[in-house]
């Protein structure tokens, strides 16, 4: 909301600086975001007098002028405008001045004659669309004075951010009230001087009003003017509208905009000559069964209507979208002479619905949505009619056509000062509260000193409860002056389990991952459906965004992988080749059983790609592979005191190949913790990854549940020494290590404490033989109560050596 300081001063005699006003308003809850100079772009233009004006020797339309700009010698300026003449006062852009369109005035020659500046048209100055000739200024001005000063243009405009509750501040009047309150100044309204002309007729006879539903339109008033002549508004009004960002149109429309900005009351003017039947009817749209009904608004767009849209009708057809925009069929044109001036109140929710559906927010709808002062609207109509008469020469018919099926009723709240002080943490005096509330326009009845009765003013639609009055007292006192204390709350110290939160677990998981040398990524929760399709993920169960910002953000991710893969693409494009990333975030799937329709599952994604070690020497070089990512998963499970896990091939995964299921045996059978795998090279290629991309996708919620059930338990350290025996098994290359391990365990060697794979050797393939590899296992034997002797270990180990080749196609 732009507020002109000059305009504001017509309502309140504020004499301080614009900055002091801005600071005060900000601390009263009306945040001033900027202080603007609306005519900064023409601040270098000066007033000049045309001393001489001769025809250009070499042109039939150019003039060579000598212009007095106050200081120094008169400037020679070549001017092409048809209306330039000796003796005129004109706006002059001197050498070096920058015009609103960005053009800088330079010394130049026009057809051989030097020109030291430019005489400007209104359009060149951004003051109007008029480019028929140069702007001719009133003769009372002095050459050399800055144009902005000579015309009294507004130099100080506040840009105020108005919160949705403060509809009353969407006007000069509203901000003036706040300034008056803040600085203890009186507020004065403009003097009304509306002259009615009975001979022109009576408004109530000229227009008959009908309101279908009082809830949708509690009041509709209209003034009728006759004999208007449509032309540009006077300069002061145009300049003032320009200063607050409104484009002047003509004297009738400008007055409606002027009153909107000044008093916050949206008005609409109809060409009465185009209204049929002398009737104005306020009623919802009536689309037929096929939904066919439309209105062409005054911007020329055809708008399809629903039964929820409120319209203004004449005797035959809709003529305006109530509170949103007028219709093209009844709008003021240059030929109009008869005007019906509408001043009404519409139901906020209805206006908002229509404006939003049609994506047609207007200054009017913005105010109606937030609520307009039903009582104050009377004054707005009178002042608008007066200004219209003054600027258009129209005669105002006697009286007002009024339909007010739902008159304004004062709202009264109780106000308990003790409760106010308790809530704010202040000790405000009754005197302060009374002065504050009265200053806001409230009527205060304090006959009961404990519980006052307070009627709030009609322009403060937001003051409808006791707590709203508390806020006002706090706001006017200054929230920043409330003493800070630390709360003494009766919260129990017995907060067992409170440290065991989902958030805490996920943070701990992040701590593990960072410690394990992974870098945390955070990606958007939504991806494009394409991102999921690329991974061959099912359509079923996806949650789509109904109104996405873009197609690449239209679906909630059903897996953690898409975001991490996008990070691969970004990093590779930046030359970051060695990637060790993790992300903890939710995956979303449809779930009819959930109250939000979504199942949200926290996932831990781990991605490794490229060189295993970002550092080269002294590490042995190699590309990250399955064992790297599996090792991370095993390390995590150990960290969470879980496992050992089963790692089971899972063929046919949509985007991983190979894909390995990570399983944990639990009380309720085998739990699927997640999957590890390599992104299929064809898919990885789409992310520009030429090397293998290894991923782990684990269920963080499940990990939390399982790990919470496990508590560390101490086992006595062994007292007697172990005996270690290694055995190397030559086996077919496709025999899995876990099969050998299982076979050894099945042989049940006594006193076997542990069994680990310590070496793998793959001899070169012989052409005629099946590929083989050598697996060396270390078996550790130990007895809890005594030292084992070699003989008994030999016996047990012998069972393994002898038994294995019988169970598996292996040699020892």
């Amino acid at each position: 909301m732009l507020i002109s300081l000059q305009w504001l001063r017509e309502f309140v005699p504020y004499t301080g600086t614009v900055q002091a006003l801005a600071d005060r308003l900000t601390m009263q809850g009306l945040e001033v975001e900027a202080i603007l100079d609306p005519f900064e772009s023409i601040s270098a233009i000066v007033v000049g007098r045309v001393l001489e004006c001769d025809a250009h020797p070499d042109s039939d339309h150019l003039h060579v002028c000598s212009v007095d700009v106050g200081a120094g010698e008169a400037l020679q300026i070549v001017c092409g405008a048809p209306n330039v003449a000796k003796g005129q006062l004109v706006p002059v852009a001197r050498i070096g001045a920058v015009m609103p369109d960005g053009m800088q005035i330079k010394k130049g020659k026009l057809r051989g004659v030097a020109s030291h500046g430019m005489i400007c048209s209104e359009r060149e100055l951004g003051l109007s669309e008029d480019h028929s000739g140069i702007m001719v200024l009133p003769d009372s001005l002095t050459p050399g004075v800055l144009l902005v000063d000579a015309l009294g243009l507004e130099r100080e405009v506040l840009e105020v951010s108005i919160t949705p509750n403060r509809a009353d501040c969407l006007s000069v009047l509203g901000i003036a009230r706040e300034a008056a309150l803040g600085f203890g100044l009186p507020l004065s309204m403009p003097k009304l001087n509306l002259i009615e002309d009975v001979s022109a007729g009576h408004a109530a006879e000229a227009v008959r009003l009908e309101i279908a539903d009082p809830e949708l339109c509690p009041v509709y008033r209209a003034r009728v003017l006759t004999g208007a002549s449509i032309k540009p508004s006077p300069a002061w009004m145009r300049h003032r509208l320009l200063a607050v960002g409104q484009r002047p149109i003509n004297n009738i429309v400008d007055v409606t905009n002027y009153i909107l900005m000044e008093l916050g009351q949206p008005l609409h003017s109809f060409d009465r000559g185009l209204l049929k039947g002398g009737v104005i009817r306020v009623a919802p749209a009536t689309p037929d069964m096929k939904g066919g009904m439309a209105i062409t608004t005054l911007d020329g767009q055809e708008r399809k209507l629903l039964a929820s849209d409120l319209l203004i009708w004449d005797a035959e057809r809709p003529v305006a979208l109530a509170g949103v925009m007028g219709g093209a069929n009844s709008s003021i044109s240059d030929a109009s002479t008869e005007v019906v001036l509408e001043c009404a109140i519409f139901r906020p929710g209805t206006i908002r619905k229509t404006a939003r559906r049609l994506a047609l927010p207007s200054e009017a709808s913005y105010r109606f949505e937030r609520g307009v002062d039903q009582v104050g609207s009377v004054f707005a109509l009178e002042r608008a009619a007066q200004l219209m008469a003054e600027t258009s020469g129209a005669r105002v018919m006697a009286g007002v056509a009024v339909a007010e099926p739902k008159p304004w009723v004062d709202r009264e709240q109780i106000f308990r000062i003790a409760k106010c002080n308790a809530l704010l943490g202040l000790e405000l005096s009754p005197e302060f509260c009374r002065v504050t509330l009265t200053g806001l326009g409230c009527h205060v009845d304090d006959s009961d000193p404990v519980c006052w009765r307070v009627a709030s003013p009609p322009h403060r639609l937001d003051l409808e409860r006791e707590v709203d009055l508390f806020e006002e007292c706090g706001r006017v006192h200054g929230l920043d002056r409330i003493p800070a204390v630390l709360p003494k709350i009766s919260k129990s110290l017995d907060s067992a389990q409170t440290s065991d939160t989902v958030f805490g677990f996920l943070q701990a998981l992040k701590g593990w991952a960072a410690g394990a040398g992974l870098r945390e990524a955070i990606n958007y929760s939504f991806v494009g459906a394409d991102d999921l399709d690329r991974l061959n993920l099912p359509e079923e169960g996806r949650i789509r965004i109904a109104n996405p910002l873009s197609e690449d953000q239209n679906t909630l991710r059903t897996e953690i992988a898409p975001g991490l893969l996008n990070n691969v693409r970004h990093n590779l494009s930046q030359g970051n080749g060695s990637l060790r990333l993790f992300e903890i975030a939710k995956a979303f799937r449809e779930d009819a059983a959930s109250d939000t329709g979504a199942c949200e599952n926290s996932r831990l994604g781990i991605l490794v790609h490229g060189p295993r070690h970002a550092q080269e020497w002294p590490w042995e070089q190699g590309e990250a592979d399955y064992l790297d990512v599996k090792g991370l998963v095993e390390n995590l499970l150990t960290h969470l005191r879980l496992g050992p896990a089963g790692f089971v091939l899972d063929p046919g995964h949509p985007y991983l190949e190979p894909c390995v299921r990570v399983e944990l045996a639990g009380k309720n059978g085998v739990a699927l913790i997640g999957r590890i795998g390599r992104v299929q090279p064809k898919i990885a290629d789409a992310y520009h990854a030429r090397k293998d991309v290894w991923l782990a996708d684990l269920d963080a919620d499940l990990l939390r549940e399982l790990s919470r059930a496990v508590k560390p338990a101490f086992v006595s350290l062994p007292k007697f020494p172990p005996v270690r025996r290694d055995v190397t098994i030559i086996c077919p290359a496709d025999l899995r290590a876990e099969q050998v391990e299982a076979a050894i365990r099945e042989l049940k060697p006594k006193n076997l404490e542990s069994l680990v794979l310590v070496a793998v050797y793959a001899p070169e393939d012989k052409a005629d033989a099946k590929p083989e590899r050598n697996l060396t296992f270390r078996l550790t034997y130990r007895h809890a109560d005594r030292t084992l002797v070699d003989k008994e270990v030999d016996k047990e180990h012998g069972k393994v050596l002898a038994g294995l080749p019988q169970k598996l196609p292996v040699r020892i």
Binding site: A422, V467, T498, Q507, G517, E520, N523, A598
Partner: protein
């Protein structure tokens, strides 16, 4: 006899002195030791004569023999020290302390996580408990219960991403206020960190960002308590000299509502650094950091609390904003590109 005995011993000393330099290794030196001091060595052989000496000569001979033994011993020892020193020298000759260490991969937490953890630590230290909830929310929890009925203009403050008419991506962490109060009786003191979503994307907005919501409800909680809590909070987060300013504002679910500014972390509230205007606070000396207020009675009604019996406050802040201020990150989009060169700065 005594004389030749003594001369012989002196000769041993001289010989050992002459030859010890030739011992170039510990092995050579050991051989030399055995030759002179061994059980069958030269000293032992010379000592053999001692037995045949008369009692008058024995003390002098014995004394001399001991002296020579010690002398030989120290000659060999000093050579040993020389050799040890040389050996150490050799061993260190290939040692280069400037070689790069074998560094395990370094991991890192995302700056948003770092900021969030710090905020949560401060607040849990003040006694708040962390709660979590769904990111896909229904309209009632996200808006209606928070005093934002359908078609209320306050909904304009938060452009919403919808899944369906009644289901949306939560636009703030405030639904956790509702969920918490529905499931617990007062007193309640919780914080809710998490992801939130708005239909907004430009230089200063991303469609997903992170918030932390705080809620404290009890009997007789005042706005002074809110000021005290938030002042303590921002001072722990940004330093003890941080100034705090409360500006009246509007949020549908609090009344009164305020926005909290802190003195600019870049210029210390001066509005300029040297002669340069401060870009972080745009010369104002203040930066907006959070929104807060006293919980609106309508919210209590929605969750079944008695607004006459309890009062409380709520506050919310953006984690990205805190991270940007704390770490001097200028570009919001960096957060979600996950460029490794960005991430590793937070190791």
């Amino acid at each position: 006899m005594l004389k030749s005995f003594l001369e012989g011993l002196d000769g041993l000393t001289l010989e050992c002195e002459a030859r010890r330099g030739q011992a170039c290794s510990l092995k050579d030196l050991e051989a030399l030791r055995v030759e002179f001091l061994g059980r069958k060595g030269k000293l032992a052989a010379a000592m053999g004569a001692l037995a045949q000496m008369g009692p008058e000569d024995k003390p002098a001979a014995g004394k001399k023999a001991n002296e020579v033994k010690n002398a030989l011993g120290s000659l060999l020892e000093s050579r040993q020290a020389e050799l040890d020193a040389a050996a150490t020298q050799d061993a260190l000759s290939g040692f280069d302390p400037s070689m790069p260490g074998r560094r395990p991969a370094a991991g890192s937490l995302h700056p948003i996580t770092l900021a969030m953890q710090e905020i949560c630590e401060v607040l849990t230290g003040l006694g708040f408990e962390v709660v979590s909830g769904p990111e896909v929310e229904n309209d009632w929890h996200n808006f209606e219960a928070l005093n934002m009925p359908p078609d209320h203009p306050a909904r304009d403050m938060q452009d919403t991403l919808y899944v369906s008419d009644r289901v949306l991506l939560r636009t703030h962490t405030s639904p956790l206020q509702v969920r918490t109060m529905l499931s617990r009786k007062p007193p309640v003191a919780v914080i809710a960190p998490g992801k939130v979503y708005r239909r907004d994307s430009d230089l200063t907005h991303t469609p997903m960002f992170h918030q932390i919501e705080g809620l404290l409800v009890d009997r007789n909680v005042s706005m002074g308590d809110l000021r005290g809590t938030l002042t303590a909070f921002v001072r722990q987060l940004f330093g003890a000299n941080t100034n705090v300013r409360f500006r009246p504002s509007f949020f549908p679910f609090t009344e009164p509502s305020a926005e909290v500014d802190i003195s600019c972390v870049m210029c210390g509230g001066a509005g300029h650094i040297g002669n340069e205007p401060c870009r972080v606070c745009k010369k104002t000396g203040w930066v907006e950091i959070l929104g807060c207020g006293m919980v609106d009675p309508n919210v209590y009604r929605a969750v079944g609390y008695d607004p006459e019996a309890v009062t409380g406050f709520a506050f919310g802040l953006g984690v990205e904003r805190v991270a940007m201020l704390k770490y001097g990150i200028g570009d919001l989009r960096m957060f979600f590109e996950n460029d490794v060169r960005f991430l590793e700065q937070f190791s």
